[in-house]
């Protein structure tokens, strides 16, 4: 092993350590008794406790925001992915005027700063009585996650061979039927990727959830964790336990689907 190679491996390990250090620290601290959190912390825990997790699901009722996040994320994914799939299929397969413009519009919408649409959405949701409800979050979430899904699925549909659906349509299937029975099964990996990215978007979203919920009943996980308050100071043990809980589904998704997620993330960038 020469010196250059050794340096490269050392750099790789150091970088890996830096990337994972905050996550390690979060997990370790969430298992540390409250009293010890305020002393000079040892790198390897000496005493382990589940007291923070018990308090989290007991007095903090953290299952409520988890339920809210899951419901909102599931509803958004169920709505946004089919809508996006129809649109992406049309862009990928049909010739129509304004197609390029539509794709540009969709891409630019996903870049909108969220704050710039908060005021009218708040006023409209308030008038309709939809503040602090699931639909009040699902509507803006679909708007912001569908463009990304359209972008991703357009790329996937373009890669699929046209012959099969054309054969199905020659045999008398309508375009919608060809899409449902022939294209979608073939595009299942792409659809799954779009669903995963949509779900992660909803699980992480903060500004809309902060603006359009009013109390603990409908708060999602990011809002609930941020607004944790103790009697005198931040209850760090419980906050960190909550961040661990919020990270678990994300970590599971990433570990299970890392290849697909990377393919999905990079499909937009490499096509410029």
């Amino acid at each position: 092993m020469n010196a250059f190679r050794f340096l490269r491996i050392a750099a790789a390990i150091a970088l890996l350590g830096l990337l994972l250090a905050p996550i390690y620290w979060m997990v370790v601290s969430s298992l540390t008794p409250e009293a010890r959190l305020f002393q000079a912390p040892p790198l390897v825990p000496r005493a382990i406790t589940l007291e923070h997790y018990r308090a989290l699901f007991g007095e903090r009722q953290f299952l409520v925001p988890i339920r809210n996040s899951l419901v909102v994320a599931a509803l958004t994914t169920l709505l946004a992915v089919p809508v996006a799939a129809l649109c992406a299929y049309a862009i990928a397969r049909l010739e129509f005027p304004g197609r390029g413009l539509l794709l540009a519009l969709i891409l630019s919408v996903s870049m909108f700063p969220q704050i710039s649409i908060v005021p009218p959405l708040y006023l409209v949701l308030r008038t309709l009585g939809l503040l602090d409800t699931y639909p009040g979050l699902v509507l803006p979430y679909v708007t912001f996650s569908a463009p990304l899904a359209v972008w991703l699925l357009t790329g996937f549909f373009r890669q699929l061979p046209r012959d099969l659906e054309e054969a199905a349509m020659l045999d008398g299937a309508s375009r919608v039927r060809a899409l449902r029975d022939v294209v979608l099964p073939l595009a299942a990996p792409g659809v799954a990727t779009a669903a995963i990215l949509t779900f992660l978007y909803c699980w992480n979203e903060f500004l809309f959830a902060l603006s359009f919920t009013l109390g603990p009943d409908r708060q999602t996980v990011p809002v609930a964790v941020t607004l944790f308050r103790g009697r005198y100071q931040v209850p760090w043990g419980q906050v960190l336990a909550a961040t661990v809980v919020a990270t678990i589904p994300v970590a599971v998704f990433v570990a299970a689907f890392q290849r697909r997620i990377v393919a999905g993330l990079t499909s937009g960038a490499s096509k410029g």
Binding site: P22, L86, V250
Partner: protein, 288 residues
């Protein structure tokens, strides 16, 4: 236009294009939800005039632009380094990819909370490290120092997004034909020369796209600051999105808050326009 795009178009119209127009319209009105008896009179550009004279707004504007100008190059640099390491990793490639994806996927709020805990004035592990190295005094608290408070904000942002940049750049690196590197090294070019004359020029399009993604994201900075400093100490770390949020949701000044929101939109839109005009064209020129 085919019927298939109608649902998506309806969502985009109802969920973002109409609201943007409504925000711009609201910005031209005096509208305070705490003073409903004043109604909602049309006041032209008065809200924008007020913003121009508002030192808190001007400071927030500077914070937003400066944050993007500092963090985006750092993220591109670190992301490029990470991408080069990921590319050469022969063993443990999937472990490295997982380690890069995790910070990207973790909720921003979680990343911010963990960094805030690590930079806590009394209990933070990073604070303790800096203290034992003698870099900061025993009473130093990041969140009380107007410039120091930016450090955890920047760290949280870089930690969360540099790996994402690396994933984008790695995809760009993998499209470079290895034969180019082989030919160059046969001709006697060392790794440094090959990086400058082969890797960098061919990676530029991907770098431009990654920089645009990151800058657009940095210009709407909100979550990390809300969690770590809430804009403090005072308003020393307050970006535009947060000031607009406070004007809207805490002071309930919807007219003025909408005007502030419009400036965030104009800032990102203007940046995107300039970026596409200048670099988009030069890229097309290079490719042609």
């Amino acid at each position: 236009m085919p019927l298939l795009v109608a649902p998506a178009l309806a969502f985009i119209l109802a969920g973002s294009l109409l609201p943007i127009a409504a925000t711009a319209w609201e910005a031209l009105h005096g509208h305070d939800l705490r003073l409903p008896w004043l109604g909602r009179p049309f006041i032209g550009l008065d809200n924008f005039v007020e913003a121009a004279g508002d030192s808190r707004f001007r400071a927030a504007f500077v914070h937003t632009v400066a944050f993007a100008a500092v963090t985006v190059p750092v993220e591109l640099g670190l992301g490029l380094g990470l991408a080069l390491i990921m590319q050469t990793a022969t063993r443990g490639r999937s472990a490295v990819r997982l380690a890069a994806l995790l910070p990207w996927a973790v909720p921003t709020v979680v990343a911010a909370l963990v960094v805030r805990f690590m930079f806590d004035g009394q209990t933070g592990v990073v604070t303790a490290m800096f203290r034992s190295l003698g870099l900061i005094g025993p009473a130093f608290d990041w969140l009380v120092h107007p410039l120091g408070a930016w450090v955890p904000i920047g760290v949280a942002d870089v930690w969360k997004t540099a790996p994402f940049v690396a994933i984008l750049l790695l995809a760009g690196l993998q499209t470079i034909d290895p034969a180019l590197h082989e030919a160059a090294s046969i001709d006697g070019a060392g790794p440094g020369r090959r990086f400058l004359t082969i890797t960098m020029p061919l990676l530029t399009p991907t770098l431009v796209v990654a920089a645009a993604f990151r800058a657009l994201d940095a210009l709407r900075l909100f979550d990390v600051v809300y969690v770590i400093t809430a804009g403090g100490p005072g308003t020393a770390t307050e970006p535009l999105s947060l000031y607009a949020f406070i004007a809207l949701m805490q002071r309930l000044r919807f007219g003025y808050g909408s005007a502030l929101s419009v400036t965030v939109f104009l800032l990102t839109f203007g940046f995107a326009l300039v970026w596409v005009r200048t670099l988009g064209r030069s890229l097309v020129g290079e490719r042609a």
